[in-house]
Amino acid sequence: MTATDISTKGDALVQIRDLHFVRGTRKIFKGISLDIPRGGICAIMGPSGTGKTTLLKLIGAQLKPSQGQVLFDGKDIHKLSRKGLYEQRKRMGMLFQSGALLTDLSVFDNVAYPLREHTSLPEKLIRHLVLTRLHAVGLRGARDLMPSELSGGMARRAALARALILDPMMIMYDEPFTGQDPISMGVLIELLHTVNDSLGLTSIIVSHDVQETLSIADYVHIVSDGVVVESGTPDEIRASESEWTRQFIQGLPDGPVPFQYPAPDYATDLYGRGGA
């Protein structure tokens, strides 16, 4: 199977090994292991509430796992000092669902922010770099707008320009397609593709938009209930024989994932003999 091929090659950019994560009393991950291959677009899919965003936060070391490790480019990201971690974070960009632009800065200043923080480049060069990134996402003309004046899709594109400004080697997209109209969706898919190919990045997309994600991903992991249920190329996933995967891909209302939230027997419940 392809999944084992990749993990044995050992040159995956991100290697997650036996990762456990607990929030409150709920076990979000129960020993999840997966590899994100270098280059290309890797999608992590699954129903809402399975901790896909949490997984991105664990890769970015914003959360600490209770057990297991995350290797980024061979380094255990959770064992680094704060300084070492920040060095690694400069090599990864993250695109938040909301865009996470700083609301008190204009689009231009938002994109320039990482450069001004981490480099001492002259203002003229910063302007040049920022404008090229903004042009790439189609927002060169919107440089003086404030984040509150942007639509959701524009905010995400501006955030993408900001995530790209430090030339990261990896970029993580948190639900990039959620809540987009068809045109912005098309724009984002196109952008994701061009950005990934022209800059030679590794992209991780977390999403539950099946068709859009399968259309651009090179490799897919499907996560549910704290473990990886299936991995493979989009074609392999589409042809999967697992009932669970089929239900997820085709969006069937009932199947291995029941329509009903776990509940006591219907009749007992209705006639008030349910105990509680």
């Binding site: 936060k57 970015g60 914003q62 704060r82 920040y86 060095e87 974070r89 400069k90 990864m92 960009g93 993250m94 938040f96 669902q97 909301s98 996470a100 632009l101 700083l102 609301t103 922010y113 990482p114 923080e117 981490h118 955030a159 900001r162 430090l166």
Partner: protein, 259 residues
């Protein structure tokens, strides 16, 4: 009974856990203060929003508090033919107590709630996570400048509160009620001691600035990142900061003036 004990234990644990987080938070803030020397503009921006924007309410309140003090003080003092001591009464009340305390309360309501809401919303809209992922430490860029600005602003505001309050007392006492102006000022000058009264008042206002700003930014940073969580954190800031100001004022007064 068992439920009650269980509940008590859970709440107690939650309280101490939060207290611990609050202190760890404070340590990280204090550790981040040093780098502000090379980025003074971050503090200056915050001084504007926590200090200058709070100035108006402080000045108006100070003026009225001073005027009311003069009215009340005059009524009592005139019965002993001691109305010339009005200046002393007004000045000591303001400099020792009302200046720092009322400024602390107003600051908690005006600037503290704004700080909590701002930081809470930055958390809710993932701006703080965004900074983290850009390898920018939010403690250094967002929290430490606000903390320092609050600590600088509150003593200055308290001083202005007392100054304009004394002027309000002068307006009512001398201009309106006819107390002798020379006696008003000279008695004040003779009785208000620099190190005993003024410095102690300044120490109080520095302590209040520290407590109120700490509570405000911690509540913001520690809030549940939803609209309900931010609103609850804002309320908690005003309530806890006000109670802290009043409680600590009692302790400080006992230490400073009665031992």
């Amino acid at each position: 009974m068992l439920d009650f004990l269980q509940n008590l234990g859970r709440r107690g644990l939650a309280f101490f856990e939060r207290l611990g987080r609050g202190h760890m938070f404070l340590l990280r803030i204090l550790g981040s203060l040093g780098q502000l020397i090379i980025r003074p503009w971050l503090v200056i921006q915050q001084l504007y929003s926590v200090g200058v924007l709070t100035l108006m309410i402080i000045l108006v309140s100070g003026l009225f508090v001073g005027m009311v003090l003069a009215l009340q003080g005059y009524n009592t003092l005139v019965g002993f033919n001691a109305e010339e001591s009005l200046g002393v009464v007004v000045a000591l009340t303001l400099v020792r107590e009302l200046g720092p305390v009322v400024t602390g309360l107003l600051f908690a309501g005006r600037a503290g709630s704004a700080l909590t809401a701002e930081i809470g919303l930055m958390k809710a809209t993932e701006q703080l996570s965004g900074l983290e992922m850009m390898a920018v430490d939010p403690f250094k860029r967002v929290l430490a400048p606000r903390f320092l600005a609050g600590m600088i602003a509150l003593p200055l505001l308290a001083a202005m509160f007392s100054a304009i309050g004394i002027y309000g007392g002068y307006l009512v006492g001398v201009e309106l009620l006819g107390v002798d102006g020379g006696a008003f000022w000279s008695q004040m000058q003779a009785s208000v001691d620099f190190s005993n009264d003024i410095i102690n008042g300044v120490i109080k206002s520095v302590v209040f600035g520290f407590i109120v700003t700490w509570i405000a930014i911690f509540e913001g940073y520690d809030c549940i990142p939803t609209s309900e969580g931010v609103s609850r954190a804002t309320t908690r800031t005003v309530v806890n900061a006000s109670l802290a100001v009043l409680g600590i004022d009692f302790l400080l007064t006992a230490l400073m003036f009665n031992v």
